[in-house]
Subunit: 238 residues, 2 copies
Amino acid sequence: MNLPLHERIRQDFETRILSGALAPGARLPTEQVLMADYDCARMTVNKALTALATAGLVDRRKKAGTFVARPRVHAMAMDIPDIGAQVAERGQAYRFDLGLRRELTGGQARLEWKVDRAVPLLELEGVHFADGTPFAWEHRFVNVAAVPEISAADFTGSSPGTWLLEHVPWTEADAHITAAGASAVEARALAVEPGEPCLCVARKTWRGSEPITYVRQLFVAGAYELTAHFGPGARREG
Amino acid sequence: MNLPLHERIRQDFETRILSGALAPGARLPTEQVLMADYDCARMTVNKALTALATAGLVDRRKKAGTFVARPRVHAMAMDIPDIGAQVAERGQAYRFDLGLRRELTGGQARLEWKVDRAVPLLELEGVHFADGTPFAWEHRFVNVAAVPEISAADFTGSSPGTWLLEHVPWTEADAHITAAGASAVEARALAVEPGEPCLCVARKTWRGSEPITYVRQLFVAGAYELTAHFGPGARREG
DNA sequence: TTCGCTATTTTGTCTATACATTAAATGAGG
DNA sequence: CCTCATTTAATGTATAGACAAAATAGCGAA
């Protein structure tokens, strides 16, 4: 287990910070001191400390020094997996049933997505199945001007989300996550009672400044969950 | 806007990767080529590519080269605000009502949180109010061995979450987000009908390897939503 | 063919040095 | 005591070179 030196230095301080031995606000030794401590060049120490800084564990200020960061973190990394891939990973058969496919323009679309009146849109509605059981309903608008190839795409079987993921890399996205009761239409599509609790994810994506798609997905409670994680290292169990 | 050279190189490739100009699997030029392209030393190129690698945008293999990584799951940054602070931000009066406070050990606790049988726990149950209206119910376990000071804490008015945030900085957390119908007990506490759809956030936090707390929060649908964002720059409207 | 050794390419690490940048600390003048 | 310019200590960036490590690619032998 012969780790590189810069990695050993990084871990030394990561350990001390995570254990609380170095409390938030505490000052770390200067690079000059550390290059003496570890008997190495400054670049090596710098690499270790820079890594801690990009990981958010320390703050570095010129002239002042390096300080253990205060964990003011209110953000966690949330996984947004591809629905089809996730179902397949659980060993279940995935299917998408397209219920509605319609071309319209921004002026005709509902209010959820504020796009220009003239923008040509493709409206899609459908249901995701796992092993033949419906578990998610989705209602989507796609900006055809940004993704003209979508006109030729066929969504019988595979979902529009998967198609978009493979054909249109997005650079920016917003998501709003709420709970909602299934409406009459949604309940019938999902084979549940109206009012049944569902997880609702509304997501808008852009490529650069160009809007790509707006989608509202409704997941039957219990059949789906989002996970989020914060912290160094791998996800843990339990 | 005079960025450092290594940052400019990094952004050049980040842009090309996010825009799709460099597709997943595509090979980037070697460091030798890049140091000629940008007329700089190899360390400068290396710093840029290493940053892309730690960000997960590229994979680097010796002898083989540097390749655009295949994005398996897309991670978004999810906001986890302090409940009390968020309510206050909306100009509403915040209150927390503690309903249950009990000391027990890991052996007696329910299955949701796998802690050692001998671990001393504090069990807390209560309701969050905004302007006198209940909007969230929470059920929490705290590892007293990790946070002995909590025995003396008083949660009439302010929530355990806020107290923990101020007294025990966590370094790692997992969250699971689902929808659920309110149980009879929960529905009565939240003044809604049983089965009413709620957003359910189950979160576990650690400091280093030491478990700190497990909490399950139930939010009345419509009264609360989580937001997530991915991409450069500030959050957008619409 | 297939196995195994070797050569070579590419990234990984480290050094020693130089100068730039920033903001805290200092000190002079009012 | 306050203000503003100067000093200076710390990080930030970059260079040119060296050797290490790993894995592909190619070659030779069984």
